[in-house]
């Protein structure tokens, strides 16, 4: 898979166009448990932490630029970031960190090359692995194609995440519902209802059992002409 199959969403921003590399990193701390009866050093794993790092280009300082938005979120939590892997397909693997902050801002200025800008998203306590189930623009009430999350028992809920990257016109209380079904055709159940009045990222917890087939249902445009968004679901 080509490296350009990765992507990064930061709240309402798609920074693929300003990013040359994305790296998702997990670190699992270990504590030594070697004792006097051990014949080899022994260790126990501790809860992990995830970080999403992006290497990019300095392309300006306006609102919506990588520089402005990294700086706005430097050391400030409340950010929702999703790294996509295999983004030209739906569904694709998505790693999200909820309530994170930008932990790094590094400008590079080599004499013989472009000015670069790096950021790294972390310190959240809730990293999630899931799948992107929709990416696009809806201009009419209705549902998106059904996506198979995969066989398995998803009895412990999870999270639904929405990155709303564009609103044509003005939305006030638009409703985007994530639904699940056991067969992908009938018996759709509303699992999470997002109320959207502005661009941004939204996250809702899913409770109880969730079926394997998922889709998005735009039930109310809230007065907007269209809404552009990417929907991610992470099931446990």
């Amino acid at each position: 898979m080509k490296g350009t199959e990765m992507g990064v969403l930061v709240d309402e921003f798609v920074f693929d166009g300003a990013t040359s590399k994305v790296e998702i990193t997990f670190d699992v701390p270990e504590q030594e448990a070697t004792n006097l009866a051990s014949s080899g050093q022994e260790f126990e794993p501790f809860p992990s932490k995830m970080q999403i790092a992006q290497t990019g280009y300095f392309e300006g300082i306006a609102d919506g630029s990588l520089e402005k938005e990294l700086n706005r979120r430097l050391a400030k939590t409340g950010v929702i970031v999703t790294a996509l892997v295999g983004k030209s397909a739906t569904p694709c693997i998505a790693y999200s960190i909820l309530n994170c902050a930008n932990m790094t801002m590094k400008f590079g200025a080599p004499m013989d090359n472009l000015v670069t800008l790096d950021g790294a998203w972390g310190v959240a306590t809730n990293p999630r692995r899931g799948k992107r189930i929709y990416s696009g623009t809806l201009s009419a009430i209705g549902t998106t194609p059904s996506v198979d999350y995969g066989a398995g028992a998803y009895a412990n809920g999870g999270w639904a995440i929405l990155h709303v990257t564009g609103i044509a016109g003005a939305a006030s209380g638009a409703q985007i519902v994530v639904e699940s079904s056991a067969n992908g055709t009938t018996g759709w159940t509303a699992e999470a209802t997002f109320t959207v009045s502005a661009k941004g990222a939204y996250a809702l917890a899913l409770v109880g059992s969730v079926d394997r087939y998922l889709r998005v249902n735009l039930t109310n445009k809230g007065g907007a002409t269209s809404l552009t968004f990417q929907a991610i679901v992470s099931l446990t």
Partner: protein
């Protein structure tokens, strides 16, 4: 030179009952032993005794996909000790097996994608205690 073996086809790595060899283009198994200094005032040279061995595995994923990602991500998101088996086959087709039973977990996992490259991943394994060698 007789006795040497190519890596492809002669090395396998199994984690939590899944053979992950097909996803790897590099696998490194390492035991490091700390030197414990015992040099004394009457020593004529530095003196050491060996400490306990410390085992680690370093992998490189050749072809990242959602299947190998699911195996490793499950362990790093919810760290837990699992079985891990490494085998090496010599030029006479005799195999040596190193087995950790419920004593292996991933300590690091990364997924990296950049322009001009393919998606890369270099997971690292902690192998706790000594293996059973057979």
């Amino acid at each position: 030179m007789s006795g040497v073996v190519k890596a492809p086809g002669n090395v396998t790595v199994t984690f939590d009952a899944t053979d992950i060899t097909q996803y790897l283009d590099q696998a490194e198994l390492q035991a490091a032993v700390a030197e414990l200094e015992t040099t004394a005032l009457n020593s004529v040279a530095q003196e050491y005794i060996p400490g306990l061995p410390n085992w680690q595995g370093n992998l490189k994923v050749a072809k990242w996909d959602s299947v190998i990602d699911g195996i490793i991500a499950a362990n790093v998101l919810t760290p837990a000790k699992k079985n891990c088996i490494w085998t090496f086959k010599d030029a006479t087709a005799v195999t040596v097996t190193y087995t950790w039973t419920n004593n292996a977990f991933f300590t690091g996992y990364n997924i990296s994608g950049a322009i001009g490259t393919k998606i890369e991943s270099s997971p690292s394994l902690r192998l706790s205690g000594n293996p059973t060698r057979a």
